[in-house]
Symmetry: D2
């Protein structure tokens, strides 16, 4: 599991007084940044070899400016060409407070051949350690 | 069905050269703004009487800066306390080009009583006309 | 002068209930996008040959979600290697209502040589027509 | 002086591959958030008693995704009804690397009377300690 503390910015808050729904996906993206950075040492996003096919979020509690939050990220289901990531946005001080849960599907893609491809073996081996414990 | 043209801003594009995934949810939000504005004449978002419970997006094609896009919005399933909205982000000039599809669940909420409530009748009657034709 | 209508998005509004200060610079950027697009037919931002050296904004009135706004853009002072752009964010229906005024300095830059360069003649000729009338 | 570390988000980067110009103002805003939070214990932004009248930024070096940055904030000139804040965005590891410098003017405002007012004494006393050393 990857843990990434998130700083809620003033700009993240919308006129309802809590973090805007679209911003949760930016938080999830910070998790993916950490994922490719810590596992594969990739900083330049153009070097990602997978594309985001779909993403979803369940909003459980509003996040406010003063909240201290942590994003948790796991690897979910793994297919031949795609893999899932699962997200949980929790309170930094109390893991039982869950603000949101999310899931995304990533597909491996060969930009030169312009088609989906099988997940490379080196990649598979790395991400197995991030699978959610049942 | 609600149709809303969206102007792709330079700021919407990320370092991959196309509209960032989180921004699709801002486009969907523009659809909801149009939805409450055109149906219920609500401009101030604090006057919305429902909350966003979940939202998802399937990314079918990348959107680039030069693309002219239109967001289509329908009412999907309707429950006792909640209703779905469905989104389709299409090319303004060619409806067969679909960039993304989305869905969100809205729940009616009584902020004073702090609990979910039944969808008001006046609301139901208004949104029935926006249901997707099968 | 370039006129560009701006749609105020729900996401542009912050918790104070009006357009966030940083978003005004995104509106100005939309003006620059129109500037390079209409004058030089440039869509891909990587093809811009100048860089933004500085920018400022005076906030005169808050912009709210329901406001219809237009961005006006002129060319200001022109130097040997740099030129100014001036911005005025006005009400679409009443030009006398000015929400904000801004100014930016753009410097011509040769990315291969990594140094500032003289403004090309073809560029100068094009932008002269956008100078503010005194 | 206030020091605030800033995490560069993937979403902050634009299609040019570095932090978008408007985002620098969001970084400055994080400095103001820290300013009102640490000095006056204010978390809710609606409790700010001043408004942003103008802001500017000089862009000295591009900020990239991998950069570790710190925002420095000082109090600049102080008038009867307004005060300046000055910003410097530096490299966290090497203070001599300055990415951007900024300045903003804040005006005290009485929302009930809808007019500018003199800076309260308690406020003045607090901010004097944050003045830039010459």
């Amino acid at each position: 599991m990857i843990n990434k503390d998130i700083t809620v910015r003033f700009r993240d808050i919308d006129s309802m007084g809590h973090v805007n729904n679209a911003v949760f996906f930016t938080y999830f993206e910070e998790g993916r940044k950490e994922f490719v950075g810590s596992l594969f040492n990739i900083v330049e996003p153009g070097d990602y070899s997978f594309i985001l096919a779909s993403i979803s979020c369940d909003f459980l509690r509003p996040v406010k400016l003063g909240n201290s939050i942590t994003l948790q990220l796991w690897v979910g289901d793994i297919g031949q060409k795609s893999f899932d990531l699962e997200y949980s946005l929790i309170d930094k001080g109390d893991e039982s407070i869950v603000y949101a849960k999310g899931r995304s599907v990533q597909v491996f893609f060969d930009y030169e051949k312009n088609k989906t491809v099988t997940i490379p073996k080196y990649f598979l081996e790395k991400i197995l350690g991030l699978r959610k414990r049942s």
